[in-house]
Assembly symmetry: C2
Homo-oligomer: 134 residues x 2
């Protein structure tokens, strides 16, 4: 329930921000701003959508949250960084988080080849999940 995250300096830790972070911590997969809104509402916490958007943007800028788009959908999704890499089933839409993303092993290779200092990445993989195969 309580956040293990270090809240970014220079911002006030409001109850709205705490609540939004808590929803993201409990979310299994990346969720939309509207998802956050309704999950808060289920918990009897009413926060306006604009406040949610404003804070998600701030949290992204500060690196605490990752924004992504799922193919075919037009709403942005938000998640804590440990859920930023995922598999998506093209048949049923199920999202499965990739733990220990194998891409990490290639940071050095990319640095060598392209000269970039790598700071982060996001991987989306499409496929057919076991349930949909049968």
């Amino acid at each position: 329930m309580s956040s293990k995250l270090k809240f970014p300096e220079g911002y006030r830790l409001t109850k709205q921000r705490k609540a939004i972070l808590e929803i993201l911590e409990n979310a299994e997969i990346p969720i939309t701003a509207e998802d956050v809104f309704f999950r808060l509402k289920e918990n009897k916490i009413n926060i306006s959508l604009s406040t949610i958007y404003r804070n998600l943007e701030m949290l992204c800028k500060e690196g605490l949250v990752i924004k992504s788009y799922v193919m075919g959908k037009d709403k942005a999704r938000f998640a804590l960084p440990d859920k930023k890499n995922y598999l998506i089933c093209e048949s049923c839409g199920k999202i499965v988080i990739i733990d220990n993303c194998p891409f990490d092993k290639f940071k050095e290779e990319l640095k060598q080849v392209y000269g970039f200092d790598i700071t982060g990445h996001s991987v989306e993989v499409y496929g057919i999940c076991p349930d949909c195969k049968s």
Copy 2:
């Protein structure tokens, strides 16, 4: 200039579709629908934005084009599949295509671990480009 792509069955090969594909073939990096619109206009070809959106959607559905979003921007970008993996400089926004994406090597590993049949993927990597480091 001429497309090497096999145009999907069941669709008419209109001059608009040819022109849109040609722009994407010549694009170095993923571009927005609006980019396509203006590049066509530069070539004295006037195609309505809605036609561009409709065809990009169709081409995505048929797998000829990949749609993606660059972190921090809110317009969708479109590219041929060989340009779907890229590095983005967090300082200047420059996009560099990753050739021979190392991620391909991990398809089998993902299949083993998660049981998905992998059909595609998209990789975005953030970092600081050589120019911005100096």
